[in-house]
Amino acid sequence: MMLRYVLRRLLAMIPLMFVVTSIAFVLGEYGAGDLAAYLVTIRGGGRMDMSDYYEIREMLKLDDPVMVRYFRWVWNALHGDLGRAWVTIGQPKVEVLLAQALPVSLQLGLASLCVVVMVGVPLGVLAAAFRNTFVDYAIVGGATVISSIPGFVLAPIAMVVLVAQLKILPSVGLGWHGIFSEKAILPVLVLGMLPIRGVVRYTRASVLEVLSQDYVRAARARGLAEWLVIVRHVLKNAMLPIITILGMTAGWLISGSIFIERIFNIRGFGHMAADAIQGGDVQASTGVLVVSALIIMTSNLLVDLSYGLLDPRVQLGK
């Protein structure tokens, strides 16, 4: 049952992946300018040699129709070959770049997700428990304020306040020294603050929803203390919707990483995306975009699957 559902969902991702890849590919095609002309100019030191030009066009098979090149790209991508990042220095393979960048961002992202869970969920529960009081307003308002600050503003503010003024953190570590290095604290915290508003509000709403259920009233009627009601009865049932929002944070964390990794000079996925897009490297940009969409799709799939595992009422096959 479960297996069949997973298979069906994976199959359903195929047409979506086609749309995703064709969007990324077509955008790249129409923007690319003339890749061969660019490469010849670079090679000739500013001068363009026409025979070289045709040779390179021939080599890159740029004269084939768009459809042919698209399906060739898909075919190669399925075999783990995303092409070369022609504009990037050294012209590395895109999959090699990704293999270097993704592990870094994965650590960063997971650590930030932990921050989101450990900060956002308890705050949301607190806000619901003290609904419509000062505590509630302070938590929801504070989360809204923090999340309204864009990552590329929050990062420098955090650097100035925490490092230069208060001197809580030793110095701003630029670069990546592993997730357990103290230089990772600031990027992880800043990245984790970006989705906090959504998580707090969503947690609060789902806890409130559960609090209005009859079994909560029954638990209160039995004379259970309010915190016991929340810990024993409400939290478990409120967990499911909270997982949904945690799945959605994957997208926010990826979007935010382009700024955070840039500012802290962490050579991860976001940094690679910024380099590829700003440098006009079509191959690398296409690869980066498709992989990012794949990650977001996968996290959505994981959320749906966890529903089936955690809630017996959800019938996944239906």
Binding site: G31, A32, V153, G280
Partner: protein
């Protein structure tokens, strides 16, 4: 008997309360919402009157005063090229508001049309629409917008050149105008699926509700049901979505400009102002803080307005 007569009079003198009146009353009771609204109004006024308020030309460079501290001459100091920061901030507000208005307008228009078409037509059109929306929403939107911005720049540049040759409009040769056009294009392309999906699902679900069925049962014509019952119910959530899209558009424009693919210098945008001073955060933090804090306050204001509108216009979603 007497009581009965009283009841009748009260019933007669009570004026009917409209959805919008109720919404306005709820909205005005929300402190955060009113705060946001006031900030938003100030921003709009600033954007409109920016050239009058600005003490200097935002492009004028004073090379004797690079990165000057706030002083009487320059109340917020100057940037790395000696341009007056306050004047640039005011013009940045213009950019942000202009982009937000145009992007919200276009995405809402596209979303309304495509979303309701999808819901009404169904069939292959709806299926294709859902796929395209899902595909677009699976990308990190800023990344996609940045990529579109970079990859359409040469093409749009050629178009602008062609328009210039055809019409002799001087503005088509202005690189800043080109930046604007590109930003409108890529944010519009990336932003519409959110509203289209909302409209589609709202139309689909409201169409099935009892009060629409009741209207049909008493023989109301389709245009009546659509304009009097369907649209007002969809409109509430669309207005909420528009207000949050407004803040998002400002944020997206600044993000693109920060990445160097949106409004580029010398054009004034809060994003590119932050980008050009982020490396000197230790020596001149005020160059980041001024545009950064104003951008954050603007986004916050529209978030507050959106939340308050949500409470006011979606009574069913209101928290207990």
């Amino acid at each position: 008997m007497v009581q009965n007569a009283d009841a009748t009079t009260t019933w007669r003198t009570t004026r009917p309360r409209s959805l919008w009146g109720d919404a306005a009353r709820t909205f005005s009771h929300s402190k955060a919402g009113m705060f946001g609204l006031i900030i938003a109004v100030i921003l709009f006024l600033t954007a409109i009157f920016a050239p009058l308020l600005a003490p200097y030309d935002h492009l004028e460079q004073d090379w004797t005063q690079l990165r000057a501290r706030p002083s009487q001459d320059h109340i917020m100091g100057t940037d790395e090229l000696g341009r007056d920061l306050f004047s640039r901030l005011l013009m940045g507000a213009r950019t942000a508001i202009l982009v937000a208005i145009i992007i919200t307008g276009t995405t809402t228009a596209i979303g309304l049309v495509l979303g309701s078409l999808g819901a009404y037509l169904g069939g292959w059109f709806d299926q294709a629409l859902v796929w395209v929306m899902d595909a677009l929403m699976n990308f990190p939107s800023i990344w996609l917008a940045a990529f579109i911005s970079v990859s359409t720049r040469p093409t749009i540049g050629r178009w602008a050149q062609a328009i210039y040759q055809a019409t002799n409009w001087e503005s088509m040769r202005n690189p800043v105008v080109l930046d604007y056009l590109i930003v409108f294009g890529c944010l519009g392309l990336v932003g519409w699926p959110g509203i289209a999906r909302l409209v589609r699902s709202q139309v689909l679900s409201i169409r099935e509700r009892e009060f629409i069925e009741a209207q049909r049962a008493i023989g109301a014509p389709t245009w009546w049901v659509t304009t009097r019952h369907l649209m007002p119910n969809v409109l509430g959530s669309v207005i909420v979505a528009m207000s949050s899209s407004f803040g998002n558009a400002m944020l997206s424009e600044s993000s693109l400009s920060f990445l160097g693919v949106g409004i580029q210098p010398p054009g004034a945008s809060w994003g590119n102002m932050i980008a050009s001073s982020v490396s000197s955060w230790r020596s001149d933090p005020h160059l980041i803080f001024m545009p950064g804090i104003i951008l954050s306050v603007a986004v916050l204001a529209f978030n507050f307005v959106g939340d308050a509108l949500n409470d006011a216009l979606n009574p069913r979603a209101r928290e207990r």
